[in-house]
């Protein structure tokens, strides 16, 4: 990727905020001061087209820097930038009043770095449940705590009124699901309010990656959220490659997209079945889960792993596709096309099932906009964004596909977005196999996998990537140290921007519809909890 320059309003405005950091690619990063940061807050307040797509921090001996990633959604491709505020006194003005998506991101920054977000509308801890034995693990010098003491109580937000009662659920749930706590306040059957508490599967991923060689960090990133292992690996690889100015072999680019579409296919097929199952319509799960299994087995046959974990690595891809792979995938596509369409007709034709999904769990477009929600959550609520199209990356810029958009914002719309995306992914897999560049033969006739060694550049570099997972847009930011190790990596799973919307979706629905709402939003716990 090359540096992208742009002359939209966003960039003009950012130039006045402060100087551009030299080593940040491919989008610009501007270092500002408190005055500039307040200007940014004003702009966010006035301009609804300015989306906050990431908010994270990093620390060195000089103190903590807070970074906000922004996108001008009214402009075209490439209108992305990062604004950085150094906080030598350990404080920064909160963005939460103008972008509610900042609330949890800032609570996480407070927990991990010990800086204060001034004016944060909800200052309670988020990832830190008081059990780590230390505080501010990502700060320059974390402070130890006594973890034998009982963890501090976590006050849920008050919700009072006649006839209201609370239902606590989790962290251990009834099915095979990840842990999290849900506190419902209900009036009879109707949910008046839902409060989520997450952080139970916080594994300290960002601290684990710090100081590690890139290859080791890639193995950790591949395990951030198992269902998106390919997408997260691509995002990390692209960020590292942007930082190091490395162009990978074209065949690797196409193989990555092939794996990404297989992953999208598998997850959507699983989700559609699981949503129907949550409406007690087990038939669709019974017929769709074998399709998912067929995708997993094909991935295994082609790349040696059912989820394709560790197959995408910085520099290229670890295995090339098996010799029989392309033919097998073309057969898979034909088979899925034949078997999927009649199941869609079943979904569409069952009034009792539609009764559960139509008008259930509505997320309004305005709210989705304020959270810059992507994926099936955003697209079911009228937001057409897709990182494969904008900012866009290879090979998708050469491929033909549509991004489905609906406006109803209910469970049904989120199902249909998945259905349409399954169809698009099937077409993409076909296109990729037909057009993928061939295998270049080595001098000795042996074909090496399309994988380059990472160059050593001998200076600190920064890179960022926006990559579309099945769930939505991943933002990954890295700083590579002069010795080639990972100085800081922040992967922002799309779940950060989608989990809060579930709280809005369930309001006014009955408790029994929560599984439907939850599964249709399908946030990743592990990807979010870091």
């Amino acid at each position: 990727m090359t540096d992208q320059t742009d002359t939209t309003r966003l960039f003009d405005r950012l130039n006045t905020l402060g100087p551009r950091a030299a080593a940040h690619r491919p989008w610009p990063r501007h270092v500002t001061d408190r005055t500039g940061w307040r200007t940014l807050i004003d702009d966010l307040d006035k301009d609804g087209g300015l989306a906050l797509i990431g908010l994270w921090a990093d620390a060195d001996a000089g103190g903590v820097n807070v970074h906000a990633a922004l996108r001008d959604e009214t402009a075209g491709t490439g209108a992305v930038a990062v604004v950085t505020l150094p906080c030598p006194d350990g404080r920064f003005p909160s963005l939460s009043a103008v972008r509610p998506s900042a609330i949890r991101l800032e609570r996480a920054i407070q927990d991990l770095f010990g800086v204060t977000a001034e004016g944060l509308t909800d200052p309670r801890p988020w990832l830190d449940h008081g059990r780590w034995g230390l505080r501010h693990p990502l700060a320059d010098s974390p402070s130890p705590t006594d973890d034998s003491a009982a963890p501090p109580p976590y006050p849920v937000l008050p919700c009072e009124g006649e006839g209201l009662h609370q239902i606590p659920v989790g962290p251990v749930h009834a099915g095979i699901i990840e842990p999290g706590h849900f506190r419902f306040t209900a009036n009879g059957e109707t949910v008046v309010r839902l409060e989520e508490r997450l952080g139970y599967v916080h594994k300290g991923v960002e601290a684990l990656m710090r100081g590690q060689p890139v290859a080791r960090a890639a193995r950790i990133i591949a395990r951030l959220s198992g269902d998106s292992t390919v997408a997260h690996s691509i995002a990390f690889a692209q960020a590292v490659e942007a930082a190091l100015g490395l162009t990978i072999p074209p065949r690797a680019v196409w193989l990555r997209a092939l794996m990404a579409e297989l992953e999208r296919l598998a997850n959507h097929l699983g989700d559609i079945g699981a949503i129907a199952n949550d409406a007690a319509f087990a038939f669709l799960l019974a017929h769709l889960s074998p399709l998912r299994e067929a995708v997993a087995r094909s991935a295994d046959a082609c790349f040696g792993h059912r989820l394709m974990m560790d197959c995408v690595v910085p520099g290229g891809v670890a295995p090339d596709i098996a010799a029989t792979g392309p033919q097998r995938l073309l057969e898979l596509v034909a088979d899925l096309r034949r078997r999927f369409a009649p199941l869609v007709a079943v979904y569409d034709g069952k009034a009792s099932l539609q009764d559960r999904t139509l008008t259930t769990g509505i997320i309004h477009r305005g709210l989705a906009n304020r959270f810059a929600a992507g994926g099936f959550v955003g697209r079911a609520s009228g937001r057409g964004g897709d990182a494969r199209k904008s900012p866009g990356y290879a090979p998708y810029t050469d491929l033909e596909f549509e991004v489905p958009v609906l406006t109803e914002g209910d469970v049904n719309a989120r199902v249909w977005i998945r259905i349409r995306e399954v169809e698009q992914s099937l077409s993409l897999i076909e296109q990729i196999i037909r057009r993928m560049p061939g295998v270049p033969r080595g001098p000795d006739g042996i074909t090496p996998p399309p994988l380059l060694r990472l160059p050593s550049v001998g200076e600190e570099r920064e890179g960022m990537a926006l990559v579309e997972s099945f769930r939505g847009e991943i933002l990954t930011w890295v700083r590579i140290a002069a010795d080639g190790t990972v100085a800081r990596c922040h992967p922002r799973d799309p779940s950060w921007l989608q989990w809060p919307l579930l709280e809005a979706a369930i309001e006014g629905n009955i408790v029994a519809d929560f599984p439907l709402c939850n599964k249709s939003v399908n946030g990743s716990y592990s990807g979010h909890d870091l």
């Binding site: 095979i176 599967v201 198992g226 889960s289 998912r292």
Partner: protein, 174 residues
């Protein structure tokens, strides 16, 4: 839909048949699980899955066990919603410190006799998350473990194989 049902009735289930040793050794395994579990536990072994910090990769494969191709329930093995109904706790993840208490409480709530399966590299030794400030590490640091099923994540066939050896292991313990 009725066409689907009709086809299922006439063509039979998609479940991989018991005696066809070609696919992953799954079919051969199927017969052994069936014989041992019948002898030891009548026809049932109830499993409660507890995610103690997994990346959700292990959960995807546990779900796959329930699909009609593996059809776990034909062996009398089934996932249950409460630890109080379980014979086996199947634990995934590097036991995050934020989940350790919930895991301990799930174990306390499981009636005796009970077995614990550590599923996946994380549950066995912390996997790539070993040494984190936020993880306890192996499941056995929190509750006693009877069986380890390696893999990241273990394939569904390996999970089945593991459940079989649990049956043999628990029989030998007495």
């Amino acid at each position: 839909m009725f066409n689907h049902i009709l086809r299922a009735l006439t063509k039979g289930p998609v479940t991989e048949p018991a005696p066809s040793p070609s696919t992953d050794g799954l079919a051969e395994l199927a017969g052994r699980v069936d014989a041992v579990s019948r002898a030891r536990l009548g026809r049932s072994l109830s499993i409660r899955a507890v995610d103690a910090g997994s990346c959700n990769g292990c959960e995807l494969e546990l779900h796959a066990l329930n699909n009609p191709i593996y059809d776990l329930e034909r062996f009398g093995l089934r996932f249950v919603a409460s630890p109080r109904h379980a014979d086996v706790l199947l634990v995934t993840g590097p036991v995050t410190k934020n989940m350790a208490e919930a895991l301990r409480r799930s174990w306390d709530a499981t009636p005796d006799p009970k077995w614990v399966v550590a599923c996946g590299a994380c549950a066995i030794d912390g996997g790539v998350f070993a040494g984190s400030y936020a993880c306890v590490g192996p499941v056995e640091a929190v509750i006693p473990v009877d069986l380890r099923i390696p893999g990241c994540p273990p394939r569904p066939a390996e999970l089945l194989a593991g459940l079989l050896s649990l049956l043999e292991h628990s029989a030998a313990k007495e």
